[in-house]
């Protein structure tokens, strides 16, 4: 219907960009351009150089060689977010919001509307309310950021960018923490931005989404530019292969049937905890049990209560057939029950420490010999973990914060496994990590189950729940609405229970 010009001129172009950090090269002559009104997806494995390229495009890093052209003219972008004044906004993966301030204060941070020298709060509130209505976000401009869910915070970041009249919006995995519903809302907003002529750079590991939303796709691998193509010419499988550079035959390991007569290792009866319950379920030896549901449906809360991280208000828990009352985290660990948090940066790893103290922290009593720490044993443990979990670090002594997300996740997994748990709860096992690492983690989970360890997988990514779990528990608003087995485990069914359209009478 519309007659579009063949190719509108690019707003921003990166031409033959190379970048090294000290002696370490990370980008080799990469080119990319972003046109007005397009969504340009940038994909690649962790460590492929996506983050670096984004930071160069938004002026946070200077390229070692090559040039940035803005509206066709060679430009040196101002550093440290100064590029926002040129209409280039980067939304970091670690959201950049002042936690103790309100939504409205965050959106207008640094460019507050003033009237007669005082803040014009009414004007700012009205403006933010308009944006929130447009985006369909049900929060108030006066809500404190720290009270919002991660998904809502993400939306606030987008509102913030929109309110700054961004011409180029660079988003680092915006959908990683969003549910499908929220992702839909988010994509509608992206479409709107597109129509208004904003160029969007979109980084994601969710290749289906890339296929849906992107107009063009640029693929990076090991700092090299592989290809830039229209997304119509690509399938998610092709993208994955181009990213990894090899056949990705089996993302999910072959499913071994669980022994339905295996002993019960965990029986939860009418558990009540803050935001939960009552819930009842059971876990068998060697089983992979999925927990699905929308974000905030209480999945994490259930297991934080069971593992002693949060108080229990009622109900009973049986571990290996014995009553286990409220436990401390240490007591749960000593009985073979371990919880792996979804928030690896805030709750999982000490980012300013090296790998070794991180690895042994959870199982530290195991490393005590004659009242002191057995440093040799710790060193051996690290060697073992690096081999077993394929943790790749350029330097063993770098702080964990400098590892890529995938390597952090592997290290976190190694840390939890260091205490040899018989039951392990993995919350969002693959959040924000690349497809290659995902595959490794799925295979590892399957191998654990085959050894007789029981695994609970809490995940918002439906394909992985479907791909690796023997049984799936669906939660909604703190209650279990359904338990699915066999062929019933499919997106449709899960979604209907999760959205409250369907509910099993469980007791």
């Amino acid at each position: 219907m519309n007659v579009e010009p063949a190719t509108p001129a690019a707003i921003i172009e990166a031409v033959n960009i190379s970048k090294s950090f000290g002696p370490v090269p990370v980008l080799f002559s990469v080119s990319m351009d972003v046109r007005p009104g397009e969504v340009h997806a940038l994909i690649g494995e962790n460590g492929a150089g996506k983050s670096t390229l984004m930071k160069i495009l938004s002026g946070f890093h200077d390229p070692t060689s090559g040039q940035i052209r803005l509206d066709g003219e060679k430009t040196a972008l101002p550093a440290n977010g100064g590029a926002e004044s040129l209409g280039i906004v980067l939304i970091h993966q670690e959201l950049n919001l002042a936690e103790q301030m309100t939504v409205e204060e965050n959106v207008f941070l640094g460019r507050e509307i003033r009237s007669k020298g005082f803040l014009d709060k009414a004007a700012m509130r009205a403006a933010v309310q308009t944006y929130l209505d447009e985006i369909g976000l049900d929060i108030s401009p006066t809500d404190r950021i720290s009270d919002l869910t991660i998904a809502q915070k993400q939306m606030v970041e987008i509102v913030k960018a929109v309110s700054r009249n961004a011409r180029i919006l660079i988003m680092d995995e915006p959908t990683a923490v969003l549910t499908e519903e929220e992702t839909d809302v988010f994509f509608r907003q992206v479409e709107k931005l597109k129509k208004s002529g904003v160029g969007i750079v979109f980084v994601s590991h969710k290749l289906n989404e890339v296929k849906t939303i992107a107009d063009r796709v640029t693929i990076l691998r090991d700092g090299q530019w592989i290809d830039t193509r229209a997304s119509n010419d690509l399938t998610p499988d092709m993208m994955a292969q181009m990213m990894v550079g090899r056949e990705l035959s089996d993302l999910y390991p072959p499913m071994h049937e669980a022994d339905i007569d295996a002993e019960l290792v965990l029986e939860v009866d009418n558990l009540v905890a803050p935001g939960v319950g009552p819930v009842s379920f059971a876990l068998r030896k060697g089983e992979i049990l999925g927990f699905s549901g929308l974000i905030g449906s209480g999945r994490t809360a259930v297991f934080e209560a069971i593992c002693g991280l949060n108080p229990i208000e009622g109900g009973s828990i049986k571990l290996f057939g014995r009553d286990a009352g409220p436990m401390t985290v240490a007591a749960a660990r000593d009985q073979g029950l371990a919880y792996l948090t979804k928030d690896r940066k805030e709750k999982g790893l000490l980012l300013d420490k090296q790998m070794q103290p991180n690895l042994t922290l959870f199982a530290l009593p195991k490393f005590v010999k004659n009242f002191g720490l057995d440093r040799k044993a710790e060193e051996d443990a690290l060697n073992r973990a690096i081999r077993r979990f394929d943790v790749r670090a350029k330097d063993r002594n770098i702080t964990v914060g400098k590892l890529s997300g995938g390597n952090q996740q592997k290290l976190l997994l190694a840390k939890i496994m260091e205490c040899d748990p018989k039951i392990v709860i993995i919350d969002e096992p693959t959040r924000g990590i690349d497809v290659g690492t995902k595959q490794q983690i799925y295979h590892f989970i399957a191998a654990l189950a085959a050894e007789g360890v029981s695994v609970v997988v809490i995940s918002s990514e439906m394909p992985e729940i479907i791909g690796i779990c023997h049984r799936v528990v669906v939660m909604r608003e703190g209650h279990i609405t359904g338990v699915l087995t066999g062929d019933h485990i499919n997106e449709n069914e899960i979604m209907r229970y999760a959205a409250g359209l369907k509910r099993e009478d469980l007791q």
Binding site: A330, K353, L361, K394, I398
Partner: protein, 340 residues
Amino acid sequence: MTMMTASDDTATKQAKRPSVDFKTIGPALALLILCVIGFMLNPAFVSEGNLTNLLTRSAFIGIIAVGATFVITAGGIDLSVGSMAAAIAGVMIIIMNGAVETMGTGLATVLLGCGCALVLGIGAGWINGALTTKGKIEAFIVTLGTMGIYRSLVTYFADGGTLSLNFDIRGTYRPVYYDSFLGLPYPVWVFICVAICGWLLLNRTAFGRYCTAIGSNEAVAKYSAINVDRVKTLTYVIQGLCVAFATIIYVPRLGSASASTGVLWELEAIAAVIIGGTVLKGGYGRIGGTILGALILTTIGNILNFTDLISNYLNGTMQGLIIIVAVFLQRSDWKLGKSK
């Protein structure tokens, strides 16, 4: 593959090596420079007598600072140590004077006093810790409160004046400060023992690792099966114990305690800890550095007494400058690291 990463290793390591080393030897270098300055001002600075005085004097702040290293490493702060020392000294003197009639003026009375000091130190530390963890009040406020309480208690016990130890007990107790073993005064030996125990505890035990983890990120510590409240409380108990040790060697020096005993020791202890390279917001502690920090602080005072080049009124300025320079030396690698 392992081989390849190893070669990568060396490249990165070499680039980092000088800055890392500077951070470790920074405080030692600062101390060395101070000593050279001291020697140039007056060769008597390196006389055996003066060096012994220096070490003995450092023992009070040094021992307390070892405790403070634990508290600060675990993300806390204790402002009450100076007042706590004064209060413990006061109560110790009252108890020993009171025991003269029943127990005489011998060793038993002194041991009773020391025992009470240890109990009081542990108790006072536990109160700070429990209020911080169970009471969920910021450590700064809790210890600011107890600082005032302990200080006014001494004033009250001493009736505004000075509490003096019974003259005969002083005779029994005096050697603890003034006598030596293998050429080093007893306070220095206590200092060395506390330092070694502290170093082992922080660097070689699970407890030390837990302190570091809590200071680095409390949530991670909690999710890593660490009993955060208990570990934090224990750091304050260790602090209290260190204060008690310092008091036990302080009392025999002058045999008295008053409201002016231990004034500003808390700040000196914290300064020693930070000069030594421990991070004030927690998560990284160095006992060795703390020892050097305490020595640096004492040496500054000593050098200023050894010269009349600087007006007495500017003593504070010199101390402040040297502290800032010492910390700057120690952190200068941050700047180097960033500019790369």
